[in-house]
Symmetry: C3
Subunit: 359 residues, 3 copies
């Protein structure tokens, strides 16, 4: 679908110049942009690419000389990625899901589905499910009995929404995500080795045979508004209360959220992050890829953790973390420097010992 | 479904007091319990919540004064989580899967399915599959040709059981798990860089172009009794012999088990654990979340590894491990303490060098 | 299907001896081989097993005395795993997918599917999809609108191919893989805490509330020839340009490839590897299990990284890496040795300080 430069600039609240009636139908990198594309050159370093491509219009850094760059029109983006958010939203056609309910789907007659739904083939929707208006549900999705989903949901291929899960408005769920599997909770009849070493930090008096009895998950999962869940990510049910994800929080692919976990609002949990059972994550927490959070701990508001940080103990609000085990990022950077010099340090100490022994 | 306090106490083998004919239909945290709920206050710290909620009965710590707490009946749980296992089992309604075989499923006529099966929509079951009695198979599951599954299986949405996989009784499979994908096994015509550095530990004489030839997986996967597999977890087929998971072992979400791996009995492999090809894991091994096990190594019986431990070499039976690379947990805790002081240690050594150089 | 020893040796380009007309129908470990199996004893240490089994023929190490081992025929494999590749390919029956298109599938009439296709039940194929000849597509697979796939594809149960994804010839996709989910890309209206600490490496002047605006993924995914993708692995769409995977590259289970990532040719990315957005991986890179790559960095050709290596900064071509953060493997091995001695080193320094203070 084509948009005029004027319409785009207006939608973004951005300045524009040149022929505002020019239309574009897609976005492209400068060097590969065709004449129908809006080239994206949000930094002067991309200016050179414009000459190689055929774009007639571009989104440019503030102050760029668009005429000098050979363009007929330009939009100026003071904060490039924010402009990209608005632009990409306008240009995203979204997945093709035909309006209405596909004939090859199995919808329980007691399910209530709001107006404007588009439901693809091989979808199953269980008894008592309630889904708000304008839902787009791609093929192979399953939504189990008693689940409740708000307005404007987009649920992609093969996602699994478990029984009695509650989800707010504007939910986006990538393919293969599993929301509401049973928690991983097992107990031994007698004190287990794991319980023993948690108290002794490593010592074991006695090793005995033990097998595991399952604690069933009677709780479900509660998810706020404006949440997005990544592909093949997993959120387990709670044992008694629901596992909870706050409004505005985004989970990336292959993230694992254990049973009873409470995640706050506006968090970003990046690819392959794992949060063990019963931990609480505050608001606006950002965990980079492959971070891990121990069970039964608390990570405060506004904590940010760098890639692969493993958080074993409570983290106070606002702390910036790195490392395994997690320490303050600045401390870890110091440790890392010292580590690279550690073999030399050991040699220096050995040398000192010799010298001191002699004197 | 409602249960009397007497029935619950009897099922758990627990002491009870008060009006044993009182019925409850669910469990709840004390502060949010309605009058129909059994409140769970397994530790005195939860006692305060009882006054806020409306529970008439509770499961309490041994010795609790239930009348003082304003209750009409109580069950006493000397080992709370064990009692939770029994209670949650009684109260779990389980997934809604209608008895019989759904019309929109594709079951090969040569498949043998035991009595009492409940098979949901869009399920595929291949030629020669044999499934024991009382199987509950949710929608979108696929069970490929020649697979054998024991009695009382519960296989949830979209799980994939590969060809010729063999599984024992009381199997529980969470949504999206893939059992029996092909192993990740490739070889180069000439010695590869990986083979070279495995012997040199880092030195490479020559870097040459190489491409990968696939080794197909002719083996399958064999799984014992009482095994549970987490959501989106993956267990690969063996090359010649089967990859094997022992009875009583539980795998959490997103766990990866490589080809030829042998996991023993009664293990717990927590969220996002990965075990590389051809390694052997003993009995009763517990690997916390995000642990990794190198390929072709042996982890002995009763090993316990803390969160994100990376095991590169054989681990003797009973060892408690932590760290990257894994060392004894107590050693790692010492190392971690010393690491936090490492920058100061380096400064102290520099100071010593100055002092010694002067004298 | 049975093969003569002659046929197998010819196919492998290997030497053979004895009764070359003997037929075998499967491969087995020596001790468990039946009379119809080709025993695999590629190293003298497996010779003992032959006597325990019933194999009449075996694949042996070069120079083995097959008659002494009691065999009727033998094939000699100078590079055992390479021979396994050829042999396993001959013996792999592959998944049972009936020729033609299953009646219970939903194929858009505008999709073009090459000759010789086998498409299982509950498959969805969208508008404008083009698939080359001889495709084998197992049940529950979805291929979204506008995707293009080359010849000889094998796409297994429940894999998800997103809209406008482009894939070359001889593609193999394990169950549950998701190719073309939306990228994980969000921006705050004002500078976020993450942006701040990226420049300050840990210092935060001010913590303010922030919520995330979505950057939609307008790009798709482009995959070369001879690529294999593991079970439940995820490859996200690019923002503007396509995320790209080069020819000959293999991804293991649960691998995560972020948006805009460019992976070169003939790479091996092992189980649970994660690559954050916009990073570039060269050719013939091997990342062992659970490795992580930071966003927006470059990993050069022929880099090899050991298990769980976390790569935060650009890595030059040919570098062998280990550790968190990644350093040269030989450096990390030195550091690890020193780390185990670190508590003793600290004690030694304390002792030195005492001695020096006294003198």
């Amino acid at each position: 679908m084509a948009h005029t430069i004027r319409d785009i600039a207006t939608a973004l609240g951005a300045e524009a110049a040149g022929n505002l009636d020019l239309t574009v139908s897609c976005a492209a990198e400068p060097h590969s942009a065709g004449p129908e594309a809006l080239a994206l050159a949000l930094d002067p370093k991309y200016a050179g690419g414009l000459a190689k491509g055929q774009a007639r219009a571009a989104m440019l850094w503030p102050g760029a000389d668009w005429q000098e760059l050979g363009l007929e029109a330009a939009i100026f983006a003071p904060r490039g990625r924010l402009a990209m958010a608005g632009l990409s939203r306008m240009l995203d056609a979204g997945p093709a899901i035909a309006p209405g309910v596909h004939a090859m789907s199995v919808i329980d007659p007691t399910a209530e589905i709001g107006a404007g739904a588009a439901i693809g083939p091989f979808v199953t929707i269980g008894a008592g499910v309630r889904i708000g208006p304008n839902a787009r549900i791609a093929g192979h999705v399953s939504i189990a009995e008693g689940a409740t989903i708000g307005a404007d949901a987009l649920i992609l291929q093969g996602a699994r929404i478990g029984a009695r899960v509650t989800i707010g408005d504007r939910f986006i769920c990538q393919p293969g995500a599993v929301i509401g599997a049973d928690g991983f909770s097992f107990v031994t009849p007698e004190r287990s080795g794991v319980e023993e070493i948690r108290s002794t930090l490593g010592q074991r008096d006695e090793i005995r045979e033990q097998s595991w009895t399952r604690i069933h998950s009677l709780g479900a999962v509660t998810i706020g508004d404006d949440v997005e869940i990544g592909a093949n990510a997993c959120i387990d049910r709670g044992t008694i209360r629901d596992t909870a994800i706050g409004s505005g929080t985004k989970l990336d692919n292959l993230v694992h959220i254990g049973h009873n976990v409470q995640v706050g609002r506006d968090c970003l949990l990046c690819g392959q992050v794992g949060i063990a059972g019963s931990s609480r994550i505050g608001d606006r927490v950002v965990l980079a890829g492959q971070c891990g959070v121990n069970d039964n701990i608390f990570v405060g508001d506004d904590v940010i953790a760098g890639g692969a940080t493993k958080i074993f103990t409570n983290a106070p609000a606002g702390r910036v973390l790195l490392g395994y085990p997690a320490v303050k990022m600045e401390t870890q950077i110091e440790i890392n420097k010292a580590l690279r010099r550690l073999p030399r340090l050991a040699a220096a100490v050995a040398e000192l010992q010799k010298v001191v022994a002699k004197s």
